[in-house]
């Protein structure tokens, strides 16, 4: 896999275990070799200690090109997946991947933003920034999920929807609005996981779910720190300040109740061990999916709407006098 680190933490751990077993069974002295690997493992585990990273470093880590992307996770997590291409309207946007996938004994529709690593990949994937056709392809796949009652898993990793003339001509705002609206109506479980970069409306366009999970080092923001800095400070170099002001980290978003759960990454971050990161993600997805599957469909939709209905913080100036939303008539 392009960009995957040569020796992952998981691989090293496995190798050490193998060597230990070998010494036990064959009586060979492998202690030097084992010590060397253990030292390497330590350095791999400690180069970055995410908890202590400042917000701007977190942004850079979330965008790190060696982090696993949607397709990397799909390969690790799914027993099989089959890509569904095209929106049947205009084109096939390669910056979003949609697929049928086998996930722990069930078929799901898996969708996700897809970035590239090489220049060529990024030309194809447009740096993970979709045009309207990408969001419409996602909606088509989600409607397929509805038809066959497949749960939906959605992976977010995008700087945002593509800001370009063609996007506007094909009504990107409408495509995002439509997806957000439709995701509230889909009578199948939806679990969203923010993998790396959760960029604004382009993230939310596939980001409505019964559960929204977030990788430990991912970010999720209404605007890029650079964009915010350009507007508020009129200076893109103030992006680190903007990153702090915007509060884009998983811990903070958990406190704001915008996400439900933080998915632990392996020490050093997901990029240091794809398999461990994927297993961590898989466990969280599965657990959440099973919880949602236990609800009745109407109850599930009601909870999904309620979840987003209660987001936001404002001050009540008088005692609440308004009748609750569910009551009818006067």
């Amino acid at each position: 896999m392009a960009g995957k680190p040569s020796a992952s933490i998981h691989e090293l751990e496995k190798k050490i275990e193998e060597l230990k077993a070998l010494s036990r069974v064959d009586g060979i002295d492998l202690s030097d070799e084992i010590s060397r690997l253990k030292a390497k493992l330590e350095t791999l585990r400690t180069p970055t200690a995410p908890k202590e990273l400042d917000d701007w470093e977190r942004v850079k880590l979330a965008r790190h090109p060696k982090r696993p992307f949607t397709l990397d996770y799909l390969e690790e997590i799914m027993d099989d997946f089959y890509e569904l291409r095209g929106d049947r309207l205009y084109g096939d946007d390669r910056a979003i991947v949609t697929s049928l996938a086998r996930f722990e004994g069930r078929t799901v529709v898996a969708i996700g933003n897809q970035k590239g690593r090489t220049a060529e990949e990024n030309r194809e994937r447009n740096f993970g920034m979709s045009h309207p056709e990408g969001y419409r392809k996602a909606l088509r796949a989600m409607k397929l999920a509805e038809r066959f009652q497949f749960p939906i898993v959605s992976f977010i990793d995008t700087p945002g929807a593509y800001p370009g003339i063609a996007s506007e001509e094909r009504h990107i705002g409408g495509a995002l609005a439509q997806n957000i609206y439709e995701m509230f109506q889909l009578p199948v479980p939806i679990v969203v996981a923010i993998l790396g970069e959760g960029g604004s409306g382009g993230a939310l366009g596939i980001g409505v779910g019964d559960r929204v999970l977030m990788m430990e080092n991912a970010i999720y923001s209404v605007i890029s720190p650079e964009g915010c800095a350009a507007i508020l400070w009129r200076d893109r170099a103030k992006a680190p300040d903007a990153a702090r002001a915007l509060q884009v980290t998983a811990e903070r978003l958990r406190e704001l109740k915008v996400i439900d759960e933080i998915i632990p990454e392996p020490p050093g971050g997901a990029q240091s061990d794809y398999e461990a990161a994927a297993q961590s993600l898989k466990g969280a997805l599965l657990r959440n999916l099973e919880e949602i599957e236990s609800f009745d469909t109407m109850e599930m939709l009601q909870m999904r709407r309620q979840k987003f209905q209660t987001m936001g913080v404002y001050e009540e100036l008088v005692e609440a006098v308004e009748p609750p939303a569910s009551s009818r008539g006067r």
Binding site: A161, Y162, P163, G164, I165, S167, E168, E169, R170, H171, I172, G173, G174, L176, A177, Q178, I180, Y181, F184, Q185, S200, G201, L204, G205, G207, V208, Y220, S221, V222, I223, G227, C228, I231, L232, W233, A242, A245, L246, Q247, V248, L253, L256, V258, R304, R305, F308, Q309, M311, G312, V313, Y314, E315, E316, L317, V318, E322, A325, R328, G329, R330
Partner: protein, 290 residues
């Protein structure tokens, strides 16, 4: 976010410095002429010399749209908090205070009930002066409150947008208002209550990419700016000039984004006309002939 606070996009606005209560004359930024303030106001904030539209405040907009004396403010008694203790160029709390003082409004949106040519409606109208009419937690809740009320009373819901998008000073919570408002839209669908989206200058970013684009019928006021990404962002990205009509009312019509472009002078009549298709059909199956 206040993407449109550059001079270029204020070209149709009034000269702010001169806009105080005791000023009798205003200078139109479009034609450069001095115009008598009262005349402008009587003329729906349209320059009597060149026909250019000036911004309407929320109250001015409401006055323009509804039957005289029919408006009742039903906004929820809430106001913005500062959940992120956001400090940009200045603290969010200061921006809020200044906006409140400048506009005399508590928030950037007013929700009310009224009649339009005798048809009862619920309407929500944004005020661009209030931090760019940007959508934070308060606007999200007020729009949902308007929708809930409209659904409950089975009255058409009208949203008049004048906004730069999400309010970045509330961070991710402002992004979530896109989801919050879009989820409430279902209540109208369920109750078969029509939703008319009126897009004015500007209707952009987070609001355009959520509730404003979900109308049963969408109309643009002549001169509207409608789009997702700001022209500056796009220019930076693609590094080339934008088409002359980019994100204008004509662009929106050409690209299938709105049903019609309507002159400010005819807006009230047009809305009333649209609503009649929905309202009079309530008791349907009727064949009252001619």
């Amino acid at each position: 976010m206040a993407l449109f606070r550059s001079k270029k996009y204020f070209k149709v606005g009034l000269d702010e410095k001169r806009r105080e209560e005791d000023v009798l004359w205003l200078k139109c930024k479009a034609c450069g002429q001095l115009v008598f303030k009262k005349r402008v106001e009587q003329n729906r904030n349209i320059c009597p010399k060149c026909g250019e539209y000036f911004f309407l405040t929320a109250r001015e907009r409401i006055k323009l749209l509804v039957d005289a004396g029919s408006f009742e403010d039903i906004s929820r008694p809430i106001s913005a908090k500062d959940p992120l203790r956001f400090v940009g160029a200045k603290p969010y709390t200061q921006s809020l205070k200044e906006a409140q003082e400048e506009t005399g409004l508590l928030n950037e949106i007013i929700v009310g009930s009224a009649t339009i040519e005798d048809a009862p409606v619920i309407l929500a109208v944004m005020d661009f002066r209030f931090i760019g009419g940007s959508m934070g937690s308060v606007m999200g809740e007020q729009i949902c409150h308007g929708i809930r009320t409209a659904a409950r009373l089975r009255r058409p819901f009208i949203l008049v947008s004048a906004t730069g998008g999400a309010r970045m000073q509330e961070g991710i919570l402002s992004l979530m208002q896109m989801a919050k408002t879009a989820s409430a839209r279902w209540l109208l669908e369920e109750a078969r209550v029509p939703f008319l989206s009126v897009m004015t200058y500007p209707t952009t970013a987070g609001v355009e990419a959520s509730i404003a684009s979900l109308g049963d019928v969408a109309i643009a006021e002549r001169g509207a700016l409608i789009g997702f990404a700001g022209p500056r962002v796009i220019k930076e990205t693609i590094n080339q000039e934008l088409p002359a009509d980019f994100q204008t009312d004509r662009f929106a019509l050409k690209h299938g984004i709105v049903d019609q472009v309507v002159r400010r002078e005819g807006l009230r009549e047009e809305i009333a006309r649209i609503l009649r298709f929905f309202v009079s059909s309530r008791n349907s199956g009727g064949r009252n002939g001619r």
